[in-house]
Each structure stands twice: as C-alpha cells, then as structure tokens.
Amino acid sequence: MLSRRQLLKTGIAGVCMLGAARLAYGPFGENVSAYSSALSDQFQWLTPQRANIVSRFAPVMLQGAIPANNPARQQTLDEVVYGFDLAVSGLTPAIQKEVDQLFMLLELAPSRRLLFQVWDGWDHATDQQLADFLNAMKNHPIGLLQTAYAALHKLTMAAWYGNPKSWERIGYPGPPHHLFGGVS
C-alpha cells in the first residue's frame, strides 16, 4: 500500500482527474464484467457492471458474517447485492446522484488506478487488496473518500443486517411476530 503522503498526493490528483476521465471514457467506463443472479432482473438501480463491483466488495465487508462455503455463500451474496439495490432505490434523487458519482469513481480505470492502486479491474483484485483498499478509503485524508467508504459500508451493512438470514449468527431473535399470530 501507499504511504499516507503518497495517498494524499494521488488522492488529490485522482479527484481532480475525475472530470477529465469522465470526458475521455464517456459515461460507460472500461469493460467490467457483468454480474447476474436469479434476482438481478429485479434490479432498479444497479447495472450488471455496478452489481459486479458490489459483489466483489460485499464479501470483504461482510467477512466473517456470511457463510464461508458455497452454495450458501453465493446465495447470500446474491441477496446482499439485491438488498444493496433496494437500499439505493429508496434514496432520494439527490442522494442517488451522489451514489452514482461514487460508482463512477470506482468504475473508471484512471481513478481506480490512481486512487485505489487497483490496476487490472476489480475482477482481478484479491480479497486482501480489496480490504486494504477499504481501509485506505476509511482513513483517507480526503474527506470525500471517507464519505465514499461510509456510503459503501452503510449500504452493504443495511443490505445484510436487514435480511432475517443474518440474525441467527448475531443472536437476534427477530421481531416478536409470534405475539401477532405470525407475520403475514
């Protein structure tokens, strides 16, 4: 990983570059693999490319919280990506625009390389690289990147811990639906 000073330098440069990169690459960025699952045709906001980025970060964010082995792991991740989409869809247009900009930052090769030191696209980053990257964002001297971390963190955590499947592991019995004769 970069030193704090280097991060600061590339960070500022990276943010300044974003505008230029957007012009150069157009709205689509470079090729990013498309994600698909049984739930993905219900997405309201995520594109297959963005869903792919979420599906790369989520297991690192939720390391230790989601099942370690397939097929339970894959199914859980699919539900987290779906929950992420639902969470973004519920945001107001102004906030959705900010999440849109965050994904632009993650999608575009120049900002990804400069800011995050991820050269070959998220597909090829190892879990360790992704964790380093999240830590760097979390503690980045540039407030914008700290808020980007906070947004990814919030949306991913809400997507998982809003899902009753996450509750057994944390010892939460869930709402007392039994008092109402079960949930409809």
């Binding site: 929950g83 964790a131 979390k138 808020t147 919030k154 944390i170």
Partner: protein
C-alpha cells in the same frame, strides 16, 4: 387481532386522497391548509377542525397504519423516514433522522415526553423577545396535551438497556429519573421506531389526525408542497406535486391549494426549505438560520450478561445531571439510551470484515448510551443553516465548533465511566479511531478518549431532534415568525412546528411541539371564528 383505526376510519368515509393514485390535476380549497401532518400539523388539524373550520392537511409521506407496521428495519426506514433514514448534514458528519409519513416523526419516535424546561423558556424571553411562553403561560397547554396523549410516567420496570444507565449512575452518586411516555396499553415491545404495531403509541396517526378527519378535514398524502405563492403580504395558494408510488419522485400530476390561512408544519429543515424554495421575503436572512440538532454522540459497551437492547420500551430512564449546572462555559448534555436494532447498530459500528462481524456476534450483550448536547445557548453554538440543493431539496450546513467538540469529548468520558460503573467488560466510543475492541478499564478509557481526534467524519454523530430554522420572536431582525407563529411578511401564513423554536429545547422535543401547536392553533381558531375553541377546555 389488532384493530386498525385507520382502516376503520377510511371505511367510515374519511376524505383521504392518495397523491400517488391521482390521474388528473386537482384543485382543493379550505379555510385552513396545513402543510405536514406531524406533531405540529396533527395538533393544529384537530384544534382547527373542531373549531368548525374546513381543514386540508397536505402530507408528503404515505398513509401507513398498524397493519403495515411489521417491525422490520428494511421496510420501515424507506417507508417512514426522510431520505430513507439517510439524511445527513452537508459535510456528512451528522446523520439526521426525521419521519415522513402521515403522522410525521411521531409515527417513528420513541414516546419520551418532557415539558420545555423553564430555563429554556426564560432564555427565549430574555434573548429572543418571545412573548407568552413563560412557564406559567405554557403550563395549561402542556397539561392539555399530556391529557390528550395519555402522557404518564412509565410504570413497568425499565428494560436492561435502561437499567444499566440507572445502575451506573447510581454507583457514581448521580441522580437519574423515570421517563414519561405517550402510550396507552403499551405491550413493551421495543419497536416504536418502526411504527407502533399495536396502536399503543399515542402518535398523531391514531389521535389528533383521526379526530380531525372525523370532524370533516381532508387529508392528501404522497403530495409535496413545492411552492408557497405570495402576492404582496398574502399567501394566495400552494403549488403541490403528487408523488409516484415510490414516494420519491413527482408523478407529473399537480395539485393546487387555495385557502384563507396556511399553517406550515413540515418540521425543522423542511419548513424553512419550503420558504426558501418559495422565495419568501427574507430581508434579514433569518430563514433556515439557527437550525439545531440536539446532536448526539454514543458509546457502546459489552456487558457480562444479556442486554437485549432491541426489546422493551426504548427509553425509560434519563439523567439531566450533566446539564443542570449552569454551563455558561461548557456544553451541557442529557444522558439517555437508544434501542438497538441490527441495521442501526451495524451501520454505527464503523469497522468492516472480521472485526465488525465479531462485534456483531456480541449484539445481545451490547449496551449503548447517548448524550444529547444542548445546542443553541452559547455564542459558539449558533446552529446550522438550511440551504437548497440544485433540485430544490433541503440540505443542512451545520458546523461543529470547538465548543461542541469539547462537549462530545466530555460526554464520551461520562458515558464510558457510567458503563464501567455498571459492570461493562469493554467500552467503545463510536469513533473511527477508537480501538476496534474498545477499552477494558475506565482508567484506560479516560486517558485514551483524551487522544481521540475531534474531527468531522471520524466521530459517529447523530440527530433525531431537529429544531429551529423559523425562529419565533418579536424582533423581525432575528426571527421568522412572531410569538403567535405568524410569518413576519405575510398576514395569513403561520408556522406551528418544531422549526419555530429559537434554540434547541435541551430535551426530547415532542411535548414542547404539542404545547406550542396547541397554543398557537387555538389562537388562530379564536381569531378566525371569534370564539374560544371548545377543545381548549384545559
């Protein structure tokens, strides 16, 4: 089977229009149009409609009721909260929770009820030329609303989360007290924040709004007031946008409202934002200024035994010890506890990966405490300024001054000390730079908390008590409305909600808003009908 009073009322013929179902533009007329149906709007609607006036209530949020309240965070936050519970200050340092539904924030609040402290009322009189709000003058209005909303001391034993606060403070020789709540037949479940599934909470949804609708009021939900139309010193109408089924975007259908008088009760942030969007007269730049958050910082603790902070009445114990002394030089704070549900706690714990997962595994043994800072009473605590985004939606710029930071630091310490006194194994201030597993002794915590960087985005800060932004007072240079709530620059526009306070209350605000709205709406009813309203038999 729980009887759903809203379903029943609708079946009995209430005049409710759902904006999302409108297919054609619509014009509605009334004697009084009320913008927003929360604490201020609900109380105003009941009093004005029972005075015989034709009342129209316009609410941006949806009409939901006990049948819909399933105690699930993933459904409740997008359905019932402003900006899906994701509202933040401009620099994103403080998360802001406000409601957005028929019944406003009272649908999701935690039922804690305090009268406005006397010294807050005195401060308004002395510093903001507010008239008619002395403790003596306000007493009948608090009594009236306490009776109307069944506000009474909580009789059941506190849940463990609240007991810990009480035990820790007692160990330290600090007094604590039992909270009063606005509930009737409460099941002690702990899900107030997701809408009461049993209708025990005496929110506006099940009290004043049904009374208003029974008296012939009209309610239009999922309809946002976009602009107030001014013509010289009069409001001549409201331009409203019906929202689509998602509740977030205008559907394209327009609603026009014509009334003799207009009551703005959209709550802090949204009320001043509507005035700004409408380009209301603002010669002294007071609109949206002095917006207060009663900002909150928090400490989590791992306890030896189960706490189950998700279960039982969310708040039943508090302490005012740290704000009782005259803190002319220091920020005072109130101590309470929050209920903990999985999404909320997972978001507030800022780590990720294994560390986060292992903290979450201790969830049933986690206790949390909050300090609510008394903002608005010091030269270094002038609150924030509401601004507008490009699309006209509100954004609050709230600077965190050194004076506030000092308060947060002292609050982290007081909370940590209290938790250790109650037997906590470890204590973690909600700050990104505190150690992942926290501190294991009070000595360590006291030393280390002094080293935490006091920086925006590092500390996890929250607010659920937004107030101010349309301050009342007799001096138009420093206020937006007069002491009766009338806008200084229009004869028929009134503000009856939490935005009218010139400072924070320095307590949970709902009862202060009920009292204010009861007083102001009764004044308006008397003015419009020439008689003292029957409902004002306090």
């Amino acid at each position: 089977m729980i009887i759903d009073p809203i379903k029943q009322g609708l079946a009995s013929g209430w005049d409710h229009r759902d904006g999302a179902l409108l297919t054609e533009d619509l014009t509605l007329e009334a004697d009084v149009a009320i913008i927003g149906s929360g604490a201020g709007g609900g109380v105003s609607a009941e009093i004005l409609s029972q005075a015989g006036l034709k009342v129209l209530i316009i609410e941006e949020g949806p009409l939901k009721s006990s049948t819909d309240f399933k105690m699930m965070e993933k459904d409740a936050y997008p359905a019932l909260y402003q900006e899906s519970a994701g509202r933040q200050t401009a620099d994103k340092a403080i998360s802001i929770f406000q409601g957005r539904a028929v019944g406003g924030t009272t649908v999701v609040n935690w039922t804690t009820s305090f009268r406005t402290p006397d010294r807050t009322l005195d401060y308004w009189k002395e510093n903001f030329a507010v008239e008619g709000f002395s403790a003596q003058e306000m007493l009948p209005w608090f009594l009236k609303m306490e009776q109307r909303l069944n506000i009474d001391t909580w009789k059941a034993p506190p849940n463990e989360n609240n007991s810990i606060l009480q035990r820790g403070l007692t160990k330290l020789g600090i007094p604590s007290h039992t909270i009063r709540r606005n509930v009737l037949g409460c099941w002690n479940l702990g899900y107030c924040g997701m809408g009461c599934p049993t209708n025990a909470k005496q929110s506006m949804l099940v009290t004043t709004l049904p009374a208003a609708l029974n008296s012939g009021a009209t309610l239009i939900s999922r309809c946002r007031v976009e602009k107030i139309q001014f013509k010289s010193d009069q409001v001549v109408g409201l331009d409203c946008l019906a929202l689509d089924a998602s509740g977030n975007r205008p559907s394209g259908t327009k609603v026009t409202v014509k009334a003799k008088h207009y009551v703005l009760a959209g709550g802090a942030i949204n009320s001043p934002a509507l005035l700004l969007r409408s380009k209301a007269a603002d010669p002294n730049k007071t609109i949206g200024a002095r917006t207060f958050l009663h900002p909150v910082n928090a400490v989590a603790a791992e306890m030896p035994k189960r706490v189950e902070a998700y279960s039982g009445a969310p708040q039943s114990i508090y302490s005012d010890y740290f704000q009782q002394q005259d803190h002319a030089q220091e920020m005072g704070f109130k101590l309470e506890v929050p209920p903990l549900h999985p999404v909320l706690i997972s978001i507030i714990l800022g780590e990720f990966g294994e560390h986060h997962a292992s903290l979450m595994q201790r969830y049933p043994r986690v206790h949390a405490m909050i300090a609510l800072l008394r903002d608005g009473f010091h030269e270094q605590s002038q609150g924030g300024q509401v601004k507008l985004r490009d699309d006209g939606s509100p954004l609050l710029d709230y600077p965190i001054t050194d004076y506030l930071w000092d308060g947060f630091r002292r609050a982290w310490k007081s909370m940590a000390e209290t938790q250790f006194a109650a037997g906590a194994h470890r204590v973690i201030p909600m700050h990104l730079d505190s150690p992942v597993m926290g501190y294991s002794s009070w000595q360590e915590a006291r030393r280390e908390i002094d080293e935490l960087p006091l920086q925006a985005l590092r500390a996890r800060l929250l607010s659920a008590h937004v107030m101010g932004g349309c301050a009342m007072g007799e001096d138009p240079k420093r206020s937006v409305v007069n002491s009766q709530g009338r806008f200084h620059h229009a004869d028929n526009l009134w503000v009856f909600d939490g935005s009218a306070f010139p400072t924070s209350i320095s307590a949970n605000p709902q009862l202060s808003i009920y009292g204010l709205a009861a007083k102001q709406a009764s004044g308006l009813a008397q003015r419009l009908t020439g008689t003292i309203p029957v409902s004002q038999s306090a």
